[in-house]
């Protein structure tokens, strides 16, 4: 338990870094934020008024510390476009984003694990070559195009799935699945392509180890050897790199929310950018980055669970 707590604490500096980078990127670099928000049409008096209202005429350091103070208390500001606290907007959209992300992860793992293992066991066979070729193709396909193609196939041509929109799980589980199926599939297929190669490489690596040969020479049957020893050891490097995949998973989720019209965090972020709503953009960026950090932490902890050889001081 102390391990978990200690690891959780390491997220705190990451959040600070994320917040700082976001602040620098969105408040320092664009220059005059008030001008940015009002756009070209803003009158000089309006700009001056907005500046005062948001306290943008104060020195940078003061603004930064003030903002950090708000963050710590969970105050992400108020959206100019929606006229609601940004925190509310974000919380409302979290379930959607999580649904897509976890749905895609589920699809990816469900596809990649068996395919990768089979490919490794029958290395260089037609199945293996098919898996390798398929994954190369899958990695080259942009996620949003996959989404559009799926829409073409399964929503336009054969109207099985809806074109866009989202239904909460709590309201109607079946519709929830229906609306999530295509986006999860689109992102899942792409992630599966990357994951399958990893699984295959990792399993191949394990299969060539000495202890496998020893077990085999002892007369233990193939599948037994595989399940007991190889899989568990092969999982470790897969987990590490799966952690790196999380970034692409989140990025893909953002794009797919746009393709499929899902009201999630990604969509909120983009709408914030289009309407130059600074508070929304900042809030969304920080939230996604924090989620990324927490997911990475989860993978780290899982790593420690899976491999008893790894101990953290």
């Amino acid at each position: 338990m102390t391990l978990v707590v200690r690891r959780l604490l390491t997220v705190a500096p990451t959040v600070l870094v994320v917040a700082t980078v976001t602040f620098v990127a969105l408040q320092v670099i664009p220059g005059d934020v008030a001008e940015l928000m009002l756009g070209m049409e803003g009158q000089t008096d309006d700009i001056a008024r907005l500046r005062k209202e948001f306290g943008l005429d104060r020195p940078l350091l003061v603004r930064y510390l003030d903002w950090l103070g708000h963050l710590v208390r969970g105050n992400l500001g108020t959206s100019v476009t929606y006229r609601e606290p940004v925190m509310h907007l974000i919380i409302a959209r979290l379930p959607v984003t999580f649904s897509v992300a976890f749905g895609a992860m589920f699809v990816a793992v469900a596809l990649a694990l068996p395919l990768g293992i089979v490919a490794a066991r029958r290395a260089w066979s037609p199945i293996d070559l098919a898996v390798l070729a398929g994954s190369q193709l899958g990695l080259a396909v942009p996620t949003f195009w996959m989404g559009i193609l799926l829409l073409l196939g399964f929503a336009a041509a054969l109207p099985i799935f809806p074109l866009q929109g989202y239904v909460a799980f709590t309201r109607d589980p079946l519709q929830w699945i229906r609306h999530l199926a295509l986006p999860a599939l689109a992102l899942g297929l792409e992630r599966a392509a990357a994951l399958a190669r990893l699984v295959r490489a990792s399993v191949l690596d394990e299969l060539s180890r000495d202890y496998v040969r020893t077990a085999r020479s002892k007369g233990l049957a193939g599948p037994y050897v595989l399940r007991r020893h190889v899989l568990l050891n092969a999982l470790v490097p897969v987990l590490t790199v799966a952690g790196l995949q999380l970034g692409f998973l989140l990025g893909g989720t953002i794009v797919l929310e746009q393709v499929f019209g899902l009201p999630g965090l990604g969509r909120l972020l983009l709408q914030g950018i289009y309407s130059r709503d600074l508070a929304v953009v900042q809030g969304a960026v920080i939230t996604v980055a924090v989620i990324f950090a927490l997911l990475n932490l989860a993978v780290d902890l899982l790593y420690a669970v899976v491999d008893p050889r790894i101990t953290y001081d």
């Binding site: 664009p30 396909v141 829409l151 989140l250 950018i273 289009y274 980055a289 950090a293």
Partner: protein
């Protein structure tokens, strides 16, 4: 793998040589091999021109990423100590963001446009190159020929340039091709989201966004830009794989 390495260079340079100079934004009329878009522009020409954008963005973004990242990593790895710690903190700060999110954030800061996209992707690539260069430098630094050069009284910069850089170049070049393909994909995504190349400049991602709006009535619009992206990215990835195989034995890796 050797066969792929030979094929890949054929695939990768396909875009610049295939551009049709007569194919500008033309109204409907003669035969359009890929159809026309909502404004009657020839899609085939737009796909070809989109290739130039992809190439440009990829080149500039990788140049920024490697141009800033590699010296950073070399310096950090060679000098070590506090400089290394500080630089790596900065790098970690950037890597705390998922790649696309960071790119979106930079574009949000700078505004939409293909120049901004190049910068954004470049910024995303800097930590990747920095980390790689640093790791390679650390591995090479302890080797005998470096120590020998140092003992012979060679100046620091000379050591880095003449001895370390050639040895770390291999993985960096491979990384550059992978980064290039990633840059093409990211530019497409950003343009799709309306944050990248702005109309009327054609870009594959932007064309797919237009296609999404008219998906039911103009299905052909959604096909070719996507095919172009896949071909380009696949070609680059295969090139990278081929290069990796080519360079590895020379470096004496397992």
């Amino acid at each position: 793998m050797a066969a792929l390495a030979v094929l890949a260079p054929l695939l990768a340079p396909y875009e610049p040589t295939a551009i049709d100079p007569a194919g500008r934004l033309s109204p409907p009329g003669d035969a359009h091999p890929m159809g026309t878009d909502r404004l009657g522009r020839d899609l085939f020409s737009r796909v070809l021109y989109g290739g130039r954008v992809a190439l440009a963005v990829g080149t500039v973004a990788v140049s920024i990423g490697a141009g800033a990242g590699v010296p950073l990593g070399l310096l950090s790895g060679f000098r070590g100590g506090r400089l290394d710690a500080v630089l790596m903190r900065l790098v970690d700060g950037l890597m705390a963001f998922p790649a696309l999110l960071l790119a979106i954030t930079v574009v949000a800061a700078l505004g939409p446009g293909h120049v901004q996209v190049m910068t954004a992707i470049g910024v995303v690539l800097i930590p990747i190159f920095a980390r790689l260069a640093r790791a390679q430098t650390l591995a090479t630094r302890a080797q005998e020929f470096v120590l020998a050069a140092h003992a012979a009284g060679a100046k620091e910069l000379r050591i880095v340039l003449r001895h370390i850089l050639p040895n770390v170049a291999g993985p960096l070049i491979v990384q550059a091709t992978v980064a290039f393909s990633g840059a093409v994909l990211t530019e497409a995504s950003l343009s799709y989201l309306g944050l990248g190349t702005q109309p009327p400049i054609p870009s594959w991602g932007g064309m797919l966004q237009e296609a999404r709006d008219v998906l039911f009535v103009a299905r052909w619009m959604a096909i070719w830009p996507g095919v172009a992206i896949v071909t380009a990215v696949l070609g680059l990835n295969l090139l990278g794989d081929g290069l990796r195989d080519l360079l590895d034995p020379r470096l004496g890796r397992q």
